[in-house]
């Protein structure tokens, strides 16, 4: 009886936490910060496209322009055909989209979405933060807005890791329980199964 009640509820705590990492309270900050970083990156892309003539920097002044017009940046544009700031903007928009999609129990119902969200936030976030530090050391100039987006990237990791961890732990527990690749595959893609529900509800705290 208790299990039925729990499985009707989208707002359950996800192990190993005693809260729901897929709740809007947890996800909205990610979306807001990602939206801010998207706008900042788009602004820098506008400069790289020369749709605007100047770029604002209250601390490093002209240095931002030398970062955005650097050799490294030009090489990236030759490779990818689009400015690197535009690619960054797309990545932050991805954080926003994948953060918005899914129910408040998506850690269980759509692990693929949470894993994709995690891949966009965590490895890409680390890469972008490292790139910004490299700019400072290799180009020899700093860019205030780039530093802001790098800080947001790291903040997003902090906000998002708990949900990704819950999803991975859930998949791992389904694997431990069944040792069946087929079940694991179906669970990953969000197909319902009794065993999935049992695993998810084992050890959850109700609040």
């Amino acid at each position: 009886m208790k299990t039925t009640e729990l499985s009707l509820n989208l707002e359950i705590a996800a192990p190993p936490w005693n809260y729901n990492p897929s709740a809007w309270r947890q996800r909205l900050p990610v979306c807001l910060f990602a939206a801010a970083a998207f706008l900042i990156a788009s602004y820098m892309a506008l400069y790289q496209w020369r749709l605007i003539d100047n770029v604002w920097d209250p601390i490093f002044g002209e240095q931002t322009r030398s970062v955005l017009d650097s050799q490294v940046s030009a090489r990236m544009q030759r490779w990818f055909h689009v400015p690197d700031a535009a690619l960054g903007a797309i990545a932050y928009l991805g954080d926003l989209i994948f953060g918005l999609a899914g129910s408040t129990r998506r850690w269980q119902y759509r692990p693929w979405l949470v894993v994709l969200f995690g891949l966009d936030v965590i490895p890409l976030g680390i890469v972008s933060a490292v790139l910004v530090v490299l700019q400072g050391t290799m180009v020899g100039s700093w860019c205030f807005l780039c530093l802001v987006t790098a800080a947001i990237s790291l903040l997003l990791i902090l906000f998002a890791y708990d949900e990704v961890w819950s999803s991975l732990l859930y998949l791992y527990r389904v694997w431990l329980r069944t040792r069946n690749l087929r079940v694991l595959w179906d669970t990953f893609w969000g197909r319902a199964s009794q065993v999935g529900d049992e695993v998810a509800l084992a050890g959850t705290v109700r609040y």
Binding site: F80, H81, V82, A86, L93, F98, S193
Partner: protein, 115 residues
């Protein structure tokens, strides 16, 4: 259905792009590519509203990959704005296309299992 609505808007933007980026009349392949892809994007995303074709939006992945590949293959260095537009719209579409229709509800199989 919010991902589908955004896709329709992106399709409209793609349909306007030849006029915004001013393709020349001899750049036939650019005109055909943008207008054809725009038609495909709007059609596929609207079809997803229809119950029998609700998976139609996955077809957008193919259109999106085509747009990105076309942009990369056609573009000289530096890439002209029209082709950069194709690449970026393709990337955007790819992100939206994989989001389910009723993205903020649990998947149907879970609702069925619980009821």
């Amino acid at each position: 259905m919010w991902p589908r609505v955004v896709e329709v808007m992106l399709g409209c933007w793609l349909g306007m792009s030849p006029f915004i980026f001013r393709h020349n009349s001899y750049q036939r392949e650019l005109w055909w590519n943008d207008l054809g892809c725009a038609f495909a994007v709007v059609t596929l995303s609207l079809l997803s509203f229809w119950r029998c074709c609700r998976a139609a939006h996955f077809g957008l992945c193919a259109v999106a990959i085509w747009l990105v590949a076309f942009g990369y293959a056609e573009a000289p260095v530096p890439a002209p704005p029209a082709l950069q537009n194709d690449i970026l719209v393709g990337m955007l579409l790819l992100m939206f296309a994989i989001i389910p229709n009723e993205a903020n509800l649990p998947p149907r199989s879970w609702s069925d299992l619980r009821s």
